[in-house]
């Protein structure tokens, strides 16, 4: 957790503002982190039930999926 706080503070302290006029590339769908919410939900449920870890991945669902 300490590592992530350091990464976060370093990242925020070194950034400069990007004006809205220069965000054409950033506004592309493929530049979004959760560009396909449906895919994320299905994948998280599939992977959470097949690995011993979870979290820091976005969406959550219910049920055990333990097959």
């Amino acid at each position: 957790m300490r590592v992530f706080v350091v990464v976060l503070v370093t990242a925020l302290s070194g950034c400069s503002f990007v004006s809205p006029a220069k965000r054409a590339t950033l506004s592309k769908r493929c530049m979004q982190f959760q560009e396909d919410g449906d895919e994320l939900v299905l994948e998280n449920h599939l992977i959470d039930s097949r690995e011993g870890s979870s979290g820091a991945r976005g969406a959550r669902g219910g049920g055990c999926g333990c097959n």
Binding site: M1, V3, F4, V7, L8, A11, L12, C15, S16, F17, V18, S19, P20, K22, R23, A24, T25, L26, K28, R29, C30, M31, F33, D36, G37, D38, E39, V41, L42, H45, L46, S49, R50, E51, G52, S53, S54, G55, A56, R57, G58, R60, G61, G62, G63, C64, G65, C66, N67
Partner: protein
Amino acid sequence: MRLQLTLAALLSGSVSSAEVEVSSKVQVYADTGQTVVISPHVTGTVTLPSKTSLSATYTEDIVSSASVDVRTTASPRIFDRRQEVDFGLGQLVGGFQLGASYVHARERDYLSNGGSFSASRELFQKNTTLSLRAGVMSNLVGRADDPLFQAPMTDWSADLAVTQIFTPTTIMQVNATVARSNGMMASPYRKVRVPMPDSGAGSLVLFMPENEPSERLRFAGAVGLKQALGDVVVLHGEYRLYRDSWSVLSHTVDARVVFDLSPITVRLRYRGYTQSRASFYQPAYDTLRLYLSSDRELSAFSSHLFGAKVEWQPLRTEGAGARFRFDVKVEGMYFRYPEFLRLDQRWALITQAGMAVDF
């Protein structure tokens, strides 16, 4: 009657100027462990001019399995079905995007009800987005062959996400999750083989029900970076670190290359995963212990995923009003279990097809 007409007029006026998105996918998972899961999924979202959004999602898992877990319970094959509904409500209030959701999932031997609250805020001229989420899921674990068996299990979780724009072509996201689970986390079906030392009457082998600690604290943190190279190529890299109170430590890397060949987008992907075993897990137990597990997901193992996804988003035609998107994904997954004696490896094929329309 007048009130009904007024309400109908207001609603139809709101809906006619609302944004509506409907999307659906079908995913098929098939592995060499003789498990097939077909998962249809559909979502509808309406965003009103008042910046209020309403969403509803339905997901189903249709399962057919003759996996090693199923066969050890003396069943040749099981068929099961999981249904899940999610409802979400979002509202923009004074610069904060607030959200609430409710989820209900049920299967023959498992019932889940949960909810979450979330808030996000854009800062520094929208260069930084901070998101928080807290949720709880209440589960009731059952056993298909025993209607009297019921064991509760509750999950509490909190997530933090910070998204930061660095340059016109670089964006980063940091995620952190803290979660706590309490209750029945062992399988009510699996048995653990425990040979007893010389008991005087020859070799004696006990098949004990799994027993795992009733509490688990989980911590996960991830950092992801997206970098556009020109107008066509986007690189995406992600690393996740996970640690829990059962001594499971895992590392995940996810690398993607996206080719934006508008209106077609092609994504190539590799995901690597490795984890250590839980403190109480043993490939073979030589004596009775308080905690016993034969869950391969608690053993040390690794997995590798390779895949490709193609998305086609035709340009919106003048006057058509609706925008469509279609996608197809094929991924292969390989699991290696060096500490699980009954299955040392498994291959899986994941295929997915989807479409979305917004108008």
